[in-house]
């Protein structure tokens, strides 16, 4: 076991992990952040997407011990002061989720994207959405929701 400090949504968590513990398991089991879901644990589905120092990363492909000193943002950190993030609102308004299992991953991916590329067109948004898997929605409403949130931000 190694003791390490993870910074998650601005909070410091001092946890004990084995070298082989993934970031996803550490977040879920040691930090109480179960919002990050696991769909494949081999880097394809993107359900586990979180932001590491502002960049999207697959939490199932990182070991927790790699994250010392980095800042991690998860879906629990999207809403600020009790106010939902515009993406969260857009996902609800545009019916961009059904079972909601893929949703945290898409939200984190899109949160990074609309900040980085506020001018993105539909084609680029679709390209982005193709990074992750959703088995319920057929993606169309996810694209629409991200579009709407990006527009609101502009």
């Amino acid at each position: 076991m190694t003791r390490l400090a993870l910074t998650v949504n601005g909070e410091r968590h001092v946890i004990d992990v084995e070298a082989r513990h993934t970031l996803a398991d550490a977040l879920r089991e040691r930090c109480g952040k179960t919002g990050t879901n696991l769909g494949c644990e081999h880097g394809v589905c993107g359900a586990c997407t979180v932001l590491v120092d502002g960049e999207p990363a697959r939490a199932c492909l990182l070991f927790a011990v790699q994250l010392e000193g980095k800042s991690i943002r998860t879906v629990e950190g999207l809403a600020q002061d009790g106010r939902l993030h515009e993406l969260q609102r857009a996902f609800m308004e545009h019916h961009a989720l059904q079972c909601g299992y893929c949703t945290p991953g898409f939200l984190m991916l899109a949160a990074w994207f609309i900040e980085r590329y506020p001018q993105a067109d539909d084609e680029q948004i679709r390209e982005l959405v193709a990074s992750n898997l959703c088995r319920c929605t057929g993606y169309q409403n996810i694209v629409r929701a991200i579009r709407a949130a990006a527009d609101r931000r502009r």
Binding site: C40, T103, R135, G138, Y139, Q140
Partner: protein, 741 residues
Amino acid sequence: MKVVGQSVQRLEDEPLVTGRGRFVGNLSFPGELHMRVVRSSHAHADLIAVDAAQALALPGVAAVWTFADVSEVPPIEFRPTRVQGLEPYRQTVLANQCVRYVGEPLAAVFAESSYVAEDAAELVAVDASPLPARLDARASDIEPTVLRKEYGDVGEAFRKADQVITLELSIGRHSGVPLECRGAIARQDPETQVLELYGATKRPHPNRDVIARMLRLDPARVQLFEGHIGGGFGVRGELYPEDFLVCLAALRLGRPVKWLEDRRENLLACNQSREQFHRISAAIDSAGRILGLQDEFFHDQGAYVRTHGARVADLTAGMLPSVYRVPAFRAVAHYRLTNKTPAATYRAPGRFEATFVIERVMDAIAQRLKIDRAEVRRRNLIAKSELPFTRPFQVLDTDLVLDSGDYAGLLEKAQHAFGWDALERELAGRRTSGECVGMGLALFLEKSGLGPTDLAKIGLLENGDVEVVTGAASLGQGVETVIAQICADALGVDYKRIVVVHGRTDRIHKGFGSHASRTTVMTGNAACKAAQTLRARILEWAEGQFDLPQEVLDIRNGELVRTDVDARPLATLRELAGRAKFEAEGEFFSDHMTYPYGAHLAVVAVDRDTGGVRVLRYLVAYDIGRAVNPMLVEGQILGGVAQGIGGALYEEFLYDETGQPLSVTFADYLIPTAKEVPQVEVLITEDAPSPLNPLGLKGAGEAGINAVGAAIASAIDDALGQKIFVTRLPVTPVQIKRALI
């Protein structure tokens, strides 16, 4: 304003967008153990010995079980059915003496952490002696049953035929593959001794009864809890070996036991579906009208009969004549076992397959007689005036009566919305200039609202909200919202003030769950009745309390009002709740399913260099009778189309010649991404409300996927300019490349 028919926002969403989902993997109980299943690595082998000594020696391992530890548990039951011959082929919860597919559970390890459980599972030594694997249902010598459906004089139809068309068609093995893998936690409440199972869904009540029966427990001491579920699609919420293992372990080891499968296990061990081989012949007259159909098919059930018994084969045979007249019909279904993962239902079970087959026949008739594809269909459609239309056989042990519809009308609307005629000319032009593009068309019949009954209990809560307790399950489809909308109108309150309870056996004594597109129809009508009764009770009570005739009393926007004096409020529901207890029940019965229908239209482009197929446009037209929430209906359809595209072009569970599965990661089992799924157009019509329920409802869950294989096949043929090129799904680039060379 009525809220039924409005695309209101879902009640389910907020916890799911904020990371507060209660998926089973997010739950934990103090002192829990973690289960890991040791699975067969052989497709077929005699088990000589399973040695757990080394695993047991690992620190943190509490127990390791093999068949000997669970031998008193009977093989897993399937649903009651009239089909004979299935019993000997049920699966035991751990393999006994022989393993019959790669992934079959043969031992279970219980340990302090999931990591340790996995380490220990690796240490279980399995000695097995391989046997030859049966991999082709057509050649398999194990045939538990043969199903037959027949009416009319088929022999005579073929003698009279102007022409006979015969096709050999097959559908590849694929399945629901929800994004959340299966999972379960069992625990025994130390005080009440009640066994609780979390992660349950789909059919909580029937599943509770089966678990109690198989583990010899009092059903009143077994309770199932749903939480959130990351997609169902037919496969999640059926009972699997692992469900019994966690329950038994919680009872025996006296600690909560948690099991979460990983994706590889999910692709090896969760129900697979669809694999069938058809040989179909159509006797037609000179105008392309079908005089008789005869289909013989082989259904690949995999290694064991699972909870659905022979339902998929039964539905395939029963739904095959679809929306067409077909005066004489015979289907013979060979239900066969192979050494592959057991099969069961996947969204639109039997229909994805049957629609592909019958619509290929329609295209073949069109090509043979050089008639337009839509015209051939029109000539064979059951006319509006012929409805209700009875097929003289049963599906799912209910009479097949097509309740209402205007099939030709829908076809016309769909073609119009798609711009079919103009598109036909445009694509012909593009083909002349060298592009490989084409369009396709498929009609389909759905079924929904499977009975026998559903119950709903409704009551006013202290805070003035209304609670509706149902026997339904929520797999992401929006059941809370839809039921709330229905009750809101019936009662006169805002739908946001209605709390819908589902998936809990401790809150209502019976329920048949959510599957077969039944919930909106069955639970919806039950909840509506309950809400109407509640409303009547409130008004009756108010009559005495306020000394006013009922005719001038109403409930509007959550308030009791008198209507004769300018809708003056008399009391809020909260005030009423403080003065008396208001409760009601409603039950809805149905012995017939209701049959929605629709059309899929597609444009595809084939890449000559890669053999890849791109879907350029897609339209689904669907008559739902009455849409409670059009946005959610559309959502169901969009998701279904994406899955259908998977089954038509990408997804397949492949096995090598020894029965080793080749599709065990998301890099091999290809779920379509946003790049493969086009923008989909949806046309929802309400021309044919169901006469079978007061709200006129039909189901929405399976319309999006039903005809995708059929429509894409039709479009690929058109693009390639080849007659019935597509005879097998999924259509792979390799197949197409071969044809283009």
